[in-house]
Symmetry: C2
Subunit: 325 residues, 2 copies
């Protein structure tokens, strides 16, 4: 028998293949289909379907809002890549590199609207609630991206500010994906909320794991170059924690590397990683990831369905926690 | 007694003043409030309120969707200014000039979402229909902007293609603003559709008048420099028609001016305007505007309310047709 999650992934893949397939002009929609075709884990739409399944309902009716979430996620990647001036996305040229900045702007705009068109297809009786959740989440993601950009100019970002930023930029869409599934499955409000909080905690752990892998991942399995965040001065959890925990001498040296415009990337990665090692940040970070992971399981345990039904979600979140890429 | 339309304009102005007033971070929302504060005619939200009034209903409940339309309109100006590399908007620096390109991208994105949040506040029983109309319209506006950009690279744009482009880029939002008012006022479907078509025709006439004023406007009353479209090679109705109606010699000369990168703006304006004069394009254009204006009145006459109730809309559209700026 085919694994249920594998089946859901297939349903999502086939549905994504049909998004914006026929509409004209192609100059507007080809960039949208391009970024959607680059793949990725399809984690968010999968979570929507798994959430419906958690409450024992038919997943078919969740495909449209699941697509809305995946389209919105890819829109945010498209515009973020342009704002961050990133050349590559999943091993391929970004939209603004393959086309141009104007294409990236306008095709991204069209993707936001297309996401709303898929949201609009949910049953009318739950449309207001799902639409509000989706818009609140979408706005939070914009706020998260703005904080992320604002943090680039600051050396005094606190750990709490960082966690709030990744909550907005990453975690809320995972919570939203799950909660939309719960709402479609007519789950009890407290169950839908617990599932949302499960998603927030998983999302935070997921992003912290991302930060960690960028420095401590195995180059053989990681898929992209180790140390990219260090080279680009990205304000990750590790860097923020290092700036806080470093002694005066370490902080001064770190500051020098951060303000250097011409440098040997390998030398910078080695220096910063050494500071992280000395400050024990790998363990500190792993402990925080574990904390959020355990909190997510607590949320899941509050949901009033059998443990058997929760297995797929637990397996998935475990695989996210212990992933190597 | 205060004029009804003046009262509606005041309601809209006061409501716009409150949009995104309190939300954080300000770095995300100040650019949005800035472009919203630059004014303009507030034509679209006014039309929504006037449409509700046309059917004798209370306009208050239409304020939220009217704001949605004005916010979306200003989002499209914001992103279009960035894509067109425009320095000024309504006598003030554009958002990407006053802040930067990233601010323009992300604040514009946030405005789309904010527009949907205002749409979501309409009564639940008509939310699906209004949401679908709004999304269809929003997508059409993106398509119109894409065609407009695609036309820049082409010398063979037909009159029909041009009319379809301005229908998408300008007219559909005017139709949408009116139809949302009709739906909120519980108008009969055929009345709502006639009002939509009235808006499309007014919108087409409005944009053609814009093109015309840019060349033939009175410099004293027009408000911005005459001939801007000519200098920037914008594919307006006049230019498209000139390229079509010119004889071989005229077309060659016109082509030379269009491909010139260094030129005296006054000389180019004089040359192109002279071609327009010789080809009688002012009259041809005025006749087309008149055609759409008369078609709009035909649509209005189909609507099953008293002529007395239609007066405000007729006065407004007349003032748009005979405006000098």
């Amino acid at each position: 028998m085919i694994n249920k999650v594998t089946l859901y992934e297939k349903i999502i893949r086939e549905a994504i293949d049909k998004v914006l397939l026929e509409e004209q002009p192609r100059s507007l929609f080809d960039p949208a289909r391009y970024i959607l075709s680059l793949g990725g884990k399809r984690l968010r739409p999968l979570l929507t379907l798994m959430a419906v399944d958690l409450f024992g309902k038919e997943v078919k009716k969740a495909v449209n809002p699941a697509l809305a979430i995946e389209i919105f996620h890819n829109f945010s990647l498209l515009h973020d890549d342009l704002m961050d001036n990133a050349d590559m996305r999943r091993g391929n040229p970004t939209v603004h590199m393959r086309w141009n900045a104007n294409s990236a702007i306008l095709s991204g705009d069209a993707m936001v609207i297309e996401a709303y068109r898929y949201i609009a297809r949910v049953p009318a009786d739950i449309l207001p609630e799902i639409l509000n959740l989706f818009s609140t989440t979408a706005m939070e993601i914009c706020k998260g991206q703005q904080y992320d950009m604002d943090f680039e100019q600051r050396m005094d970002v606190s750990e709490n500010e960082y966690i709030e930023m990744i909550r907005l930029k990453t975690a809320v869409l995972i919570g939203c994906a799950l909660k939309i599934g719960a709402l479609l499955a007519d789950a009890a409000p407290q169950d839908a909320d617990a599932l949302y909080r499960y998603g927030i905690n998983i999302g935070l752990a997921f992003q912290l794991k991302d930060d960690l892998l960028d420095v401590y991942g195995d180059p053989k399995t990681f898929g992209k170059k180790i140390g990219g965040d260090i080279v680009s001065n990205k304000k990750t959890y590790l860097l923020i924690k290092a700036l806080k925990n470093a002694n005066i001498g370490q902080r001064e040296e770190l500051g020098r590397w951060l303000s250097e415009t011409e440098f040997d990337p390998e030398a910078k990665i080695n220096f910063v990683k050494n500071i992280y090692d000395v400050l024990n940040l790998k363990t500190i970070s792993e402990n925080l990831i574990e904390k959020y992971y355990l909190a997510s399981l607590d949320c899941l345990s509050l949901i009033n369905v059998s443990d058997e039904r929760k297995k797929d979600l637990i397996n998935l979140s475990e695989s996210l926690m212990y992933r190597e890429k």
